[in-house]
């Protein structure tokens, strides 16, 4: 079997494989639903309804999508430069941590000053957390996949340590939980009365900014060059190591914003279960978006919808929520294959 590049793919060739990938995902979900003894159409219908079938559902999906846009952007930016940032989870918590350290009373500023400060500090924290594995890679050639992964475990333990110690809420009734944020540190709602906070708007702005950086700045050009062919980039004079470090700082900062957004927009304090794996889900979002920052918005909405819908469906008919994770994993694997098939022909040799 051999793969041959296609010079001018037809419209069918460009759209059919991804469509089939999604269709196959739906089929897999249906089979699994039947295995659980449920009606597959009912299950799929409930997922759709739970994702977007009411104002409540839509808002819930948008809320769920917010941290996913941030982590999806973080991963997309990093993966573009072939920097395998699997540590978005730790970077998220770093952002959440700094939000809580400064936002529970240490800085008594008005919201207009405090919120930007929290954003800045959160991004710095996330950047620093990814900087360590990035430096290890650049200086010692240590593969960042494993280091960023292991860092997730280490950092979460670190958070646990802090929450049971110095950051512990004295009025928390024994739960490991931080103090609550002061009012000035909370992200306000976008529209009065609707349960959607400014974090969502911030995420959209972040996506737009990342798009601009990638397409129109020299840094974006450098990141793409380094990601596609590091050797050629180095030969041409592009400062590869500096580019990787800058990419790491940007990526870590974006992931940290997910933590800031969840604490300041939704939860109001830091607990160990702040993130049900947003950092890892960000990888799926980024891949489904083909690493395109604007595509990340669409992919995050899609993924969030599946999760929110599955939660609601599960409450209704009892099919385990892990169906959503299986669907996403299947979609991911089939989609990368489908994308390949839009650009290459399979030739029997």
């Amino acid at each position: 079997m051999r793969l041959e590049p296609i010079a001018n793919p037809s419209l069918a060739r460009s759209t059919l494989p991804p469509a089939l990938a999604i269709a196959a995902t739906v089929v897999v979900a249906s089979l699994l639903a039947m295995l659980a003894g449920a009606n597959p159409f009912a299950v799929l219908g409930l997922i759709l309804k739970g994702a977007a079938g009411s104002q409540f559902a839509v808002l819930e999906t948008l809320n769920r999508a917010t941290p996913l846009i941030f982590t999806g952007l973080a991963v997309a930016v990093a993966f573009r430069a072939r920097l395998w940032n699997i540590g978005a989870e730790a970077q998220l918590y770093a952002g959440a941590l700094m939000t809580v350290v400064l936002g529970t009373g240490a800085l008594q500023w008005p919201a207009a000053a405090l919120l930007p400060m929290l954003v800045l500090v959160a991004m710095l924290a996330g950047a620093v957390v990814l900087l360590v594995p990035a430096l290890l890679k650049v200086r010692f050639g240590v593969d960042e996949v494993v280091t960023t992964l292991l860092f997730n475990f280490i950092f979460l333990l670190f958070i646990s340590l802090l929450l049971e110690g110095p950051l512990k809420d004295p009025m928390g009734m024994g739960w490991p939980k931080s103090e609550r944020l002061i009012a000035e540190a909370r992200l306000p709602r976008i529209v009065e009365g609707l349960r959607l906070h400014w974090g969502f708007a911030l995420a959209l702005i972040a996506a737009a900014l990342v798009w601009v950086v990638q397409r129109r700045t020299t840094l974006g050009y450098e990141m793409r060059a380094v990601g596609l062919n590091r050797e050629a980039a180095r030969f041409a004079g592009i400062p590869v190591n500096a580019v990787l470090i800058k990419t790491a700082l940007l990526s870590g900062g974006l992931a940290a914003l997910a933590g800031f957004s969840e604490v300041a927009g939704v939860k109001g304090s830091l607990t160990l279960d702040l993130s049900p794996g947003f950092g890892y889900t960000g990888i799926i979002v980024a891949m489904l978006a083909l690493l395109n920052p604007l595509g990340v918005i669409a992919a995050a909405l899609f993924v969030a919808g599946i999760f929110v819908g599955a939660d609601s469906m599960s409450r209704a008919v009892g099919v385990p929520t892990y169906l959503a994770d299986i669907m996403l994993a299947t979609a991911l694997l089939l989609m990368v294959l489908a994308i390949l098939l839009t650009r290459f022909r399979v030739v029997r040799e």
């Binding site: 129109r216 062919n229 050629a232 041409a236 004079g237 029997r348």
Partner: protein, 515 residues
Amino acid sequence: MTGADTAQVVLRLDRITKRFGALTANDAVSLDLRRGEVVALLGENGAGKTTLMNILFGQYTADEGQVMVMGQALPPGNPRAALEAGVGMVHQHFTLADNLTVLENVTLGTEPLWRWRSDRAAARAKIAKLSADFHLAVDPDARVGSLTVGERQRVEILKALYREARILILDEPTAVLTPQETDDLFTTLREAVTKGLSIVFISHKLHEVMDIAHRVVILRHGKVVAEMATTDTDRHALAAAMVGSTVSAPRVAPGVPGKALLHLEAVGTPDRGSAPGLKSVTVSLRAGQITGLAGVSGNGQAALADLIAGLSTPAMGQINLDGQALATWSPRAAVEHGIARIPEDRHKTGTIADFSLTENAILESYHKPPMSRAGWMSWSQAEAETQAIIKGYDVRCPGPDTRIRLLSGGNMQKLILGRVLEANPRIILANQPVRGLDIGAVNYVHEQLLKARDRGAAVLLISEDLDEIMALSDVIHVMSEGRLSPEFARGTMTPAELGVWMAGHGFDEGLAHAS
């Protein structure tokens, strides 16, 4: 020698046709090989020689036609069947695993995979006998990664002989050998012929073809255009048949040397694995002059090229540009100082395959006006510049937005040339600039280099092709194991004499090597 006419036909390619998309790589190619014959398959790069051999060897399946070995049709697309039928191939890019020993590389795939133990002793004995019979001296327990290029080729040939090949195919075997090593190879091949083997020898080097082959088959654009016995022809006729018209090598007027633009003084760099570093190299590149660097790959050319390109800095000694010592050195600094670098491998280092032509064209200039200002890209300027290069350097492409991976090698090289020459460089580093290109592109690149020289640039030409070096260079140095020979003016050395230096002997005889 010509009693071969009545000898048995051991290999017959019958109207082989192979298409890759719109390109017809082989067009109804037919070829006979008789026992004890050496047939040379001649053609320029892109003529279809390697494709044809890959079909024979089973890496590709022909769209039409068949292959017959010893009268039996060969199952297509099956390397194992080809090996078992007695076809052995010595590839142009060696197919050896560096982490394994010679013995392991030779026995790879020769025993059934479900076997519990490898029979090392028998293998060892067989290799020793083959080494002796065919003059292929090599240590079976040496790690292939530590062998020289010549030794590796011997392992490649041993692999084929170990599998009892009756037909040997050699794909451009002398591209990486010194003249003496080439003589050794030919001795081995003649020995093989007396033992009844038949040989297909792929090359574009006419004097070698005349030397070793009984018959020549010439391919052009995928078709067989001529077939002749070497006794009935000469190099000029062959060249004409290869290209389709009488070709005369461009008359190269000597350059007028100016002052030294780049000077390396006793420069040393550390070895990197099996690639030697520079050993106290002193050389000047003068304006208006082409300095040719001859030598077999792997003798320090990469270290010198990397140094001048800005990828490495000297551990000892100095680089002087315009008479001034350099403070900092990097690829970007090299570009800033007016050094144009044409890298050895246009796919790996010269271009980014999935970038468009425009994005490739600005790889060295994107960070300055007019391509960008204060970090903000100006794509319209970039595209305009690219269009200028496409026009000025005859880059055949659908447009500046095409991904460069869709271009042919020749057009890619022209873009690279345009990219570096547009900046009017004072120094040009041309590293294997015409490797793998068809004759049209080769002449074009040479023309551009000569034009740049006549405008006053200093050109360093690194090439494995001694003919190219001797035709273009005003002065020649030879590189061997990181050491640089003295300068030889145009016309003062024969290939054999240069070959002595290439093999390292000139240095040993204590001939002075100050510049």
